[in-house]
Amino acid sequence: MKRHVSTSVMGLIRRGLAKARVIDGYSLMELIIVIILATVAMPGIVGMYTTTMVNSQKAELMTMSDMLAREQMEIILADKAGTGAGFGYANINTAKYASVNPTGYFASFARTVTITTLNPGGLYESKMIVVTVSHTKIPSVVLTGLIFNHAGI
């Protein structure tokens, strides 16, 4: 003889089981998957800090490049303002500044000067000075200026 349990009682038990699943913990497999995922994500986090360090160094190099470019521009302006042999507007040319690479601590930078005469012989003749400072780790810094053939800058 088959004994029966009422459907309503079974329904109550099943609902209880469904609730019980909600408070279940995590299985070992689930935890291991989470740990593996976290381990995989770790290089990304480390990479982020590495990038921060590299960018920090780039900012320093940019500042140094800027200062070296400004230094060279000042030297050229001083030479233009100077009087006597080798100085003055007429002596400002690319050949004069062929070797202006920084040395010592700044030896990793390359510095070049290009001078182009604009409107030569004209009333408003001027020389365009382009100072470029390069470093392998950052974009080049380019400083441009104009000098005219009269007193003052």
Partner: protein, 184 residues
């Protein structure tokens, strides 16, 4: 209406037992060990990141201070008029013109001093002996820094070379300026 047998009831009881069983000691140990390893690794990353941030911050501050010092020297020396005492590697003192922006330019006797002393770089400005303002441009680490003055042809130039050590690593900046009142 669906009927359930006693067998269904026993299966249900078995399911209940399975759900309530929890984790074994071995499972717990494995998870605890792995979690501990992970915590140590993340902890190290956290410590490293704090150190990186701190070092980066100090170097950035050092770099900004050094650049400001160079800019101040450039701005002041541009208006140089004459030396006040011979310039040395650690001290330059000069008179400069003062341009006041009240719609009128006029000249005043300002004396400006840049001096390296005790690893610091200081900047002082005197107004005809009436008042002196002194500021520290670089707090420390500028031990081997120096000024150099060069006269090429008829033109004087002043170079400042800042040699600093920040976080045990060298940091240098250099710039040159020439007084604008010279030459033609």
């Amino acid at each position: 209406m669906r009927d359930y047998s006693i067998k269904d009831g026993l299966n249900l009881a078995a399911t209940l037992r399975r759900d309530d069983r929890g984790h074994t000691l071995i499972e717990m140990l494995v998870v605890m060990i792995m979690t501990s390893l992970l915590a140590v690794m993340f902890g190290q990353i956290l410590v490293s990141s704090i150190q990186i941030y701190s070092n980066h911050n100090q170097r950035k501050t050092g770099n900004i201070d050094a650049r400001r010092a160079c800019d101040m020297l450039m701005n002041e020396v541009r208006d140089w008029r004459s030396w006040d005492g011979a310039p040395t590697a650690t001290k330059v003192k000069f008179k400069r013109i003062a341009k006041l922006l009240s719609g009128v330019y006029y000249y005043d006797e300002f004396r400006v001093t840049f001096e390296f002393s005790g690893g610091q770089l200081t900047y002082a400005r005197e107004n005809d002996g009436k008042s002196t303002n002194k500021y520290i441009l670089l707090q420390d680490g500028a031990g081997s820094s120096q000024f150099s003055t060069v006269t090429l042809g008829t033109t004087k130039r002043v170079t400042i070379q800042l040699v600093m050590t920040v976080n045990g690593r060298p940091m240098q900046l250099r710039t040159t300026v020439f007084p604008r009142l010279q030459g033609g």
